[in-house]
C-alpha cells in the first residue's frame, strides 16, 4: 500500500465536536448544578422562548465561511501585473482579460463576477497576507490553530467564536453551525457547543402535520417541562429533547425555500433564512470544500469560487433588507498555497492567504499587505504580514463589540475594517495599501522563479506525515 496524507474530509471530521449541537444554555445551567432533581420544570421550552430574542439595536451578526483545504489566495485575488506571479504559476496563472480587475495589480478570479460588483459597490474588504508564525503546513494543526486561536491544546480545547458566544451569553439559537458534519471546533466554547443545524431539515419536532404526530411530539415536550425523571441526568436528557423540539419548530421555516440547492449555496441560503427569523442568531458558521488543489487545480478552483460567488448572492437575495447592514460575512482557510505551481498543475500547502469580509458595513478596499512573491521563506512560501488573531481581535472589538483580549487570551493589534452599521461606504478603495510587488510587471525583467522544491519539501513528499499533530 502507499501512504498518503490523511484525507482532508477525515481530518475535518476529526476536528468536529462530537457533542454536536449542544444547547449552550442547557449545558451551562446543567454545569452550574441548577438542574437538581425535580427542578427542571422551570426550564425546557420556556427557557428557549427567552433565548429567542430579536436582534437588539446594537447587535451585529457574523457569518463565517471556512474554505476547507487551503484556498489558493494568489489565484483568488491575483497580482496579475506581476511577472513573478506568472513565472511561479506557469500554466496555472489566471488570464487577465477574463479576471476582474478591482485595484492596481489585483484581479479577482473570473468566477467571482458578482463579488467584483460588490467590491466596486464598497461592500468587500480584503485583508491580505494573513497567517501565523511557524505554520507547519498540516491541515490538521493549521486549522486547529485558526479555529482555536489559542495556544492551549488537548482535551477541552475550544474555538474563538465558541468562547465569544459563551462570554456574550448567546442562547441556543445565538450560535449556530449550518452543516451535516457536526459543529467545528471554531464553535465550541469552554463548556458549551453551538447548535448544529442539519442542512436537510427533517428535524424531530418540525413539520408536524397529523394529529398523531402532534401527540407524539407533545409527549416529549411535556416530559421536558415536567421534570421528575429517574435522575438529574435523565431530567437533563428530557430537557434536551424538549429544547431540540422547540428549536426545530422555530427554525423549520428556514428549510422551506430553495430546496433544490446544494452545498454552500444551500447553507448560505439557510443562514440568511435563519437571520430573517430574528430569533437571536448572532454567530453562524458553515464550511465548504475542497480547496486542497494539489493537482489539476484550475477547473476545481474555478468551480469552488463560482460556488462561493453564487452562495454570497443567494445569501443576500434571501436576507431581508433590514438585516443587510447588520451582517458581515468573513472567509478563512487553513493556509494559502505554495507560490510556485507543482508538476501536477496544482499547488501544494503554503502559508499566508487573504481573508474576505463582505457586507455593506465593512471598510471596503485592501487591508494588510500582500507578502512579497520573491522574498519567500525557505520552503518557497509567503511570509505572512498580518497575524490572523489581529483580524479576529478587530472583528471581536469593532464588529461584535466584545472584549477581544478575553476571548483571545492576549492583546493584538487591530485593523480598521468597519464603519458603523448603516454607514454604507461607497468609495473606500484605498490604493495606498496595495503593495506594488517590488515594482515588477509582466513586461519587466522578472527574476527566475526559485526552485519549486526545497529540500524540506522533498523530505515531505517521501514521508508525507511529517507535518501533523495536535
Amino acid at each position: 500500500m502507499s501512504r498518503n496524507e490523511p484525507e482532508l474530509d477525515d481530518i475535518l471530521r476529526s476536528l468536529t465536536v462530537p457533542s454536536i449541537g449542544t444547547s449552550a444554555i442547557a449545558r451551562r445551567r446543567f454545569l452550574q448544578g441548577s438542574l437538581a432533581l425535580g427542578s427542571a420544570s422551570a426550564l425546557g421550552p420556556t427557557l428557549f422562548a427567552d433565548e429567542a430574542a430579536a436582534l437588539g439595536a446594537d447587535d451585529r451578526i457574523l457569518v463565517c465561511i471556512y474554505m476547507a483545504g487551503g484556498n489558493d489566495g494568489l489565484n483568488t485575488i491575483a497580482p496579475l501585473d506581476s511577472g513573478t506571479y506568472f513565472d511561479a504559476r506557469k500554466t496555472l496563472a489566471l488570464d487577465a482579460t477574463s479576471s476582474h480587475k478591482i485595484a492596481n495589480n489585483r484581479y479577482l478570479h473570473p468566477s467571482l463576477s458578482t463579488l467584483a460588483d460588490r467590491y466596486r459597490n464598497g461592500e468587500v474588504a480584503i485583508v491580505e497576507g494573513v497567517g501565523f508564525p511557524d505554520d507547519d503546513h498540516s491541515h490538521f494543526s493549521s486549522i486547529k490553530t485558526w479555529m482555536s486561536a489559542s495556544s492551549q491544546h488537548g482535551p477541552g480545547s475550544s474555538g474563538w467564536l465558541g468562547r465569544y458566544a459563551e462570554d456574550a451569553g448567546l442562547g441556543a439559537l445565538g450560535s449556530v453551525n449550518v452543516g451535516d458534519r457536526g459543529v467545528p471546533l471554531l464553535m465550541a466554547g469552554r463548556n458549551s457547543v453551538a447548535t448544529g443545524l442539519p442542512t436537510d431539515g427533517n428535524l424531530f419536532g418540525a413539520e408536524v402535520e397529523e394529529a398523531w404526530e402532534h401527540d407524539l411530539v407533545n409527549f416529549f415536550s411535556s416530559l421536558a417541562k415536567q421534570g421528575g425523571q429517574a435522575s438529574p441526568m435523565a431530567n437533563a436528557w428530557a430537557e434536551q429533547l424538549g429544547t431540540a423540539i422547540d428549536v426545530a419548530s422555530n427554525v423549520s421555516p428556514i428549510y422551506d425555500q430553495n430546496q433544490e440547492e446544494r452545498g454552500l449555496v444551500r447553507n448560505m441560503g439557510l443562514a440568511a433564512n435563519l437571520i430573517n427569523l430574528d430569533v437571536g442568531a448572532r454567530v453562524i458558521s458553515t464550511e465548504f470544500r475542497t480547496f486542497d488543489t494539489h493537482d489539476d487545480q484550475a477547473a476545481d478552483h474555478a468551480a469552488r469560487l463560482k460556488e462561493f460567488d453564487d452562495a454570497v448572492n443567494r445569501f443576500y437575495r434571501n436576507l431581508r433588507a433590514k438585516f443587510q447592514d447588520r451582517v458581515v460575512i468573513m472567509t478563512y482557510s487553513e493556509f494559502g498555497r505554495r507560490v510556485a505551481a507543482n508538476d501536477s498543475r496544482g499547488t501544494d500547502h503554503g502559508t499566508a492567504g487573504p481573508m474576505m469580509m463582505i457586507g455593506p458595513a465593512v471598510k471596503a478596499g485592501f487591508h494588510g499587505s500582500l507578502p512579497s512573491l520573491r522574498n519567500l521563506d525557505d520552503r518557497g512560501d509567503l511570509k505572512h504580514t498580518v497575524d490572523f488573531r489581529e483580524v479576529y481581535a478587530t472583528v471581536l472589538q469593532q464588529w461584535l463589540r466584545a472584549d477581544a483580549s478575553q476571548v483571545l487570551g492576549g492583546s493584538f493589534q487591530t485593523l480598521d475594517l468597519f464603519g458603523s452599521p448603516g454607514d454604507v461606504t461607497t468609495s473606500p478603495i484605498n490604493p495606498g495599501t496595495v503593495t506594488s510587488l517590488d515594482g515588477l510587471t509582466r513586461a519587466g525583467a522578472a527574476p527566475k522563479a526559485r526552485s519549486p522544491l526545497s529540500t524540506t519539501e522533498v523530505v515531505q513528499q517521501v514521508r508525507p506525515k511529517l507535518a501533523s499533530g495536535f
Partner: protein, 441 residues
C-alpha cells in the same frame, strides 16, 4: 451471607446496564439472588476462548473495511457472550484514542482493537506498551517520525497527559526528555521493493535514530528508552498518579459522576495491589457501595454506541437489517474514529440538540419496521396502565419514573379516545426508545 447482600432484579438490571449494554429480563433474572461479588464475578468471567478479531477482506476498499469493522464490533457488543469485555474494549479505545481517519489502514486499527480486547483486563503497562509500539499509534501520534535530532513530541506528551498520569503532573522538560526516550521507535516507512517505493507500517527499532544519551524524567536520570518509561509510569515512581488517573476515568465511564476521595483511594489502591491489572480495577469499581446506590441508577447518559447496541438488543435488529452505520456519525460517535486524541467524554458530553435529533431521527425513520412483528404486538389492545408496563418491559426499563409512566398512560388513553389505535404500536416504539429512562445506563 446476609440476605441484604443478595441482589434484587433492579440491582441486576443496573449491573447489566453498566457492565454491558443493558440486559434482557432473562439475563437479569439469572443474577437475582447472587451476592454482589458473585454477580460481579459472573459478568467478569470471559471464559477461556480466544476472542475473535474484526474480519479482514482484502477485496474491500479501505473505507469498506472500516465500515465492516464498525459493524462487526457493534454486532459483537450486541450479541457476543461477553458484553463487559466489549464495553471495556470501548473504554480503552476511547482512552488510547486512535483514528482510522489518520491511520488510514483498517488492518492496523483491527490489530490495535485486538490488543485492547485481549490485554485490557491484564497488566496496564503491557497493554500500554503494545499499543504504543503498534503501527496504528505510531502513525496516529507521529512517533513513526520521531528520530534523534528531530524529535517529535506528540506521542511523548500524550503518553503522560492522556494515557497515564494526566495533565499537570509533568513539566515541559519531561516532554522533551520523553520525546528523546522514544526516538527510534518508528515504522519501517517507505521501503524499496522490486524498484517500487511502498510504505511498510510495521514497527521497527531504529537504533541509529535513537538518542541513547542520559535523560532526566521526573528527576531520575538514566538512558531512558521507550517502553521502560511506561514501566516507570505504571509500576515505578509515577504509579500512584497513573492509578488515580485511570481509576477516576473508568469510574466516570462505568459508575457515575466524580468518585468521592474515599472511593477513589480504595479503587486505585486495589488497582495498585493487583499489579495494575484492569480486571482488578473493574472489580473494585463494581463492588463499591456508591456503584450500587439507588441514586446511581439511570444516572449515566448512554453514549451513541451504547444506545444503538441497547436498541439492537431490544429489537433484534442486525447491521444487515438496518444501515446503522449511517446514523453513528450524526449521533457523534463513530467506532475507530474518535474525534481527537482525547477520545470521547462521558455523561453530559452526550447531551446536545443535534444528538437528540439524530437519535430521534433514527427511531422515527425505523419505527414502522416493527409493524407486523412481535415487538410490542397487541399493545393497542391493552389498558393504558398495561400498555405502559408493556412498553417499559419491552425496553428493559425496570424502574420507570412516575412522570414517564403517567405520560405514557395519558398518551395511550388519548390515542384510543381519538380512534387512533392503529398508531399505538409503532408510536409506542418511539416512546420507549426516546424516553429518558432508555437514554440512560
Amino acid at each position: 451471607m446476609p440476605a441484604s447482600d443478595q441482589i434484587s432484579y433492579n440491582e441486576a438490571a443496573h449491573l447489566l446496564r453498566r457492565a454491558g449494554f443493558g440486559g434482557s429480563k432473562r439475563e437479569a433474572r439469572a443474577l437475582v439472588g447472587l451476592t454482589r461479588s458473585q454477580a460481579v464475578a459472573a459478568v467478569l468471567d470471559f471464559g477461556t476462548a480466544t476472542p475473535a478479531r474484526p474480519p479482514e477482506n482484502p477485496n474491500l476498499s479501505e473505507w469498506q473495511q472500516n465500515l465492516a469493522a464498525q459493524e462487526w464490533w457493534i454486532t459483537e457488543m450486541a450479541t457476543g457472550k461477553h458484553p463487559l469485555r466489549e464495553k471495556m474494549t470501548l473504554f480503552w479505545h476511547g482512552h488510547f484514542a486512535t483514528s482510522w481517519d489518520k491511520v488510514d489502514d483498517q488492518k492496523l486499527m483491527n490489530d490495535q482493537n485486538h490488543i485492547l480486547r485481549t490485554m485490557g483486563m491484564g497488566d496496564f503497562a503491557e497493554m500500554c506498551k503494545a499499543v504504543s509500539l503498534g503501527p496504528a499509534m505510531l502513525i496516529y501520534l507521529d512517533n513513526e517520525t520521531n528520530v534523534a535530532g528531530a524529535e517529535q513530541e506528540n506521542f511523548a506528551r500524550e503518553l503522560m497527559e492522556l494515557f497515564t498520569i494526566g495533565v499537570g503532573n509533568f513539566s515541559e522538560d519531561d516532554v522533551i526528555a520523553m520525546a528523546k526516550a522514544w526516538t527510534g521507535h518508528n515504522t519501517k516507512g517507505f521501503v524499496n521493493r522490486d524498484g517500487r517505493w511502498v510504505y511498510d507500517p510495521s514497527y521497527v527499532y531504529n537504533k541509529a535514530e535513537h538518542d541513547g544519551s542520559n535523560k532526566t524524567l521526573w528527576g531520575i536520570t538514566r538512558r531512558w528508552n521507550g517502553p521502560d518509561t511506561i514501566d516507570e509510569l505504571v509500576h515505578g515512581s509515577q504509579q500512584g498518579l497513573t492509578a488515580r488517573y485511570i481509576s477516576e476515568k473508568l469510574w466516570k465511564f462505568l459508575a457515575t459522576g466524580t468518585p468521592s476521595e474515599a472511593v477513589l483511594k480504595r479503587i486505585s489502591n486495589a488497582f495498585i495491589a493487583s499489579g495494575m491489572r484492569g480486571k482488578a480495577l473493574v472489580k473494585a469499581i463494581l463492588l463499591e457501595d456508591d456503584f450500587w446506590d439507588p441514586s446511581a441508577r439511570y444516572a449515566l447518559v448512554r453514549s451513541p454506541v451504547e444506545y444503538i447496541v441497547a436498541l439492537m438488543k431490544v429489537t433484534g435488529w442486525t447491521t444487515e437489517d438496518i444501515p446503522i452505520r449511517w446514523y453513528m456519525e450524526p449521533m457523534g460517535q463513530l467506532l475507530f474514529n474518535p474525534p481527537d486524541v482525547a477520545g470521547w467524554g462521558t455523561n453530559d458530553y452526550w447531551l446536545s440538540t443535534a444528538t437528540a435529533w439524530a437519535r430521534s431521527r433514527f427511531v422515527t425513520e425505523w419505527q414502522w419496521r416493527i409493524r407486523n412483528t412481535p415487538l410490542l404486538e397487541g399493545v393497542e389492545d391493552r389498558s393504558p396502565a398495561d400498555a405502559a408496563s408493556y412498553i417499559f418491559s419491552t425496553f428493559n426499563v425496570s424502574q420507570p419514573s412516575a412522570a414517564s409512566r403517567a405520560a405514557i398512560e395519558a398518551w395511550v388513553a388519548n390515542a384510543h379516545a381519538n380512534n387512533r389505535g392503529w398508531s399505538i404500536q409503532p408510536n409506542s416504539f418511539v416512546l420507549g426508545a426516546l424516553c429518558p429512562e432508555f437514554q440512560m445506563a
